[in-house]
């Protein structure tokens, strides 16, 4: 081989000018029932407290939620939702959980609120 080019250059779109959302969908909580609906909440990294208390990273104004009801933490295995000894529990697809690794389409119940988890990409 004498180092000649064996693939041709083709016309390409400059991807840097396209909006970012075409390439990644964020991880979302979609509130589908309860006082705080309708609402989409974009999930980030780290760990947040969920509840009606003003010091919660994810504040949901629903009367039957505890002040600090649950936590949501991004782990290497996915989002981990944990009960914080709430008064009326955390349910994922109707199962009362102490904690659960969330998967796309899971329905979360906190008090009278229903939230669908959408896994991003």
């Amino acid at each position: 081989m004498d180092g000649k080019v064996i693939f041709a250059r083709t016309e390409m779109t400059d991807i840097s000018v396209l909006p970012q959302r075409l390439f990644t969908r964020p991880h979302l909580f979609q509130v589908v029932a309860g006082e705080a609906m309708p609402r989409n909440i974009t999930l980030g990294d780290g760990k947040v407290t969920i509840g009606r208390g003003s010091d919660c990273g994810m504040r949901l104004l629903s009367s039957d939620l505890s002040r600090k009801h649950a936590t949501l933490e991004r782990t290497r295995r996915g989002y981990l939702l944990s009960d914080l000894e709430s008064r009326n529990g955390v349910f994922v697809n109707e199962v009362r959980i102490e904690s659960a690794l969330l998967r796309d389409g899971d329905t979360i119940q906190l008090g009278n609120m229903q939230i669908v988890y959408h896994e991003g990409s």
Binding site: R77, L80, G89, E94, R96, E98, L101
Partner: protein
């Protein structure tokens, strides 16, 4: 007093990674009970690897009490990949069944011979000891009463009941309950009728807050798999109804069943419980779920 139950592996027979089993998980049998800080583990399928990762992050020297349904691959393969056994200072008690029964400890070491695995059992730095459950197959560990029950499976298997302060969790996998029915033809003749599950098995599961039970086959799967060691899920439901169980976790999911098929099976099982007027709550065991067996399982 919290009774935590963590599902690390819920699949039967062989690991099933991939999209079709993403929600419920593809790792084989491994369930951890955390009773007031005492760690009791059932089986060491491939789910045990991830349990090992988690335990390495906990404080202080570990003492793991390990119980085995039997030694088929899907119940032991995670053991050589369970990191804490390589670390000095941690302690592992491997229980056999009756007096002097050290089979499980010996068989576990057998899968770590050089032809199967690069590290020899003797190189494990953790303190691994064999114990048994005594002549009555019942023993108390840190205030938790552990009972053992002989099941119907090729080469035998065992179920375990763990109880503390009236909260009972039963782990019963790889048990072909359909072979124990007094009338094995009944499910074909009258599929809807409550099946005649043996009384001693019912007693063993009696009033459990949580029954984790083999439910591998749909009714239509079973006739081709008689004698393979697993029950119809619907027969498992009947056992739970008769025993007055509060929550039933369908376990040992068939490697051929996708997440959707597991959910269809749950729906069929729920419909059956409802038809029998039972308020038993049924769900599919799922990797990454932790439950508290000592709390009520319904809102309010």
């Amino acid at each position: 007093m919290p009774v935590l139950v963590r599902f690390w592996g819920v699949r039967g027979s062989i690991p099933t990674p991939g999209r079709a089993t993403y929600r419920y998980g593809g790792n084989t049998a491994c369930v951890e009970l955390d009773v007031d800080g005492t760690t009791l583990v059932c089986d060491a399928g491939t789910g045990a690897r991830e349990l090992g990762v988690e335990l390495m992050g906990r404080k202080g020297p570990l003492h793991v009490h390990w119980f085995f349904s039997h030694m088929h691959w899907d119940h032991i393969q995670g053991f050589p990949f369970f990191t804490p056994v390589y670390v000095p200072g941690h302690r592992f008690t491997i229980y056999g069944t009756r007096d002097g029964d050290t089979r499980f400890a010996r068989l576990l070491s057998g899968q770590m011979r050089s032809a199967y695995f690069p590290v020899d059992f003797s190189e494990l730095r953790g303190n691994i000891e064999a114990a048994d459950l005594g002549p009555t197959m019942e023993r108390e560990i840190d205030g938790v009463t552990v009972r053992c029950f002989e099941q119907h499976h090729p080469g035998l298997s065992y179920g375990y009941a763990f109880e503390k302060d009236g909260v009972k969790v039963v782990y019963s996998t790889d048990n072909e309950i359909d072979m124990m029915l007094r009338d094995p033809e009944q499910p074909l003749r009258d599929p809807g009728a409550l099946r005649d599950v043996p009384a001693d098995l019912v007693d063993f599961c009696r009033d459990a807050a949580l029954l984790i039970c083999d439910a591998q086959y749909r009714d239509e799967d079973y006739p081709m798999r008689v004698g393979w060691g697993h029950p119809r899920a619907t027969t498992t439901v009947d056992l739970a109804i008769r025993a007055g169980v509060k929550q039933l976790a369908l376990f040992h999911h068939d490697p051929m069943h996708s997440d959707e098929e597991v959910e269809e099976l749950v729906a069929a099982c729920r419909a059956r419980a409802e038809a029998h007027g039972s308020d038993l709550f049924i769900f599919a065991a799922r990797e990454g779920f932790t439950l508290r067996a000592d709390l009520p399982h319904r809102p309010g």
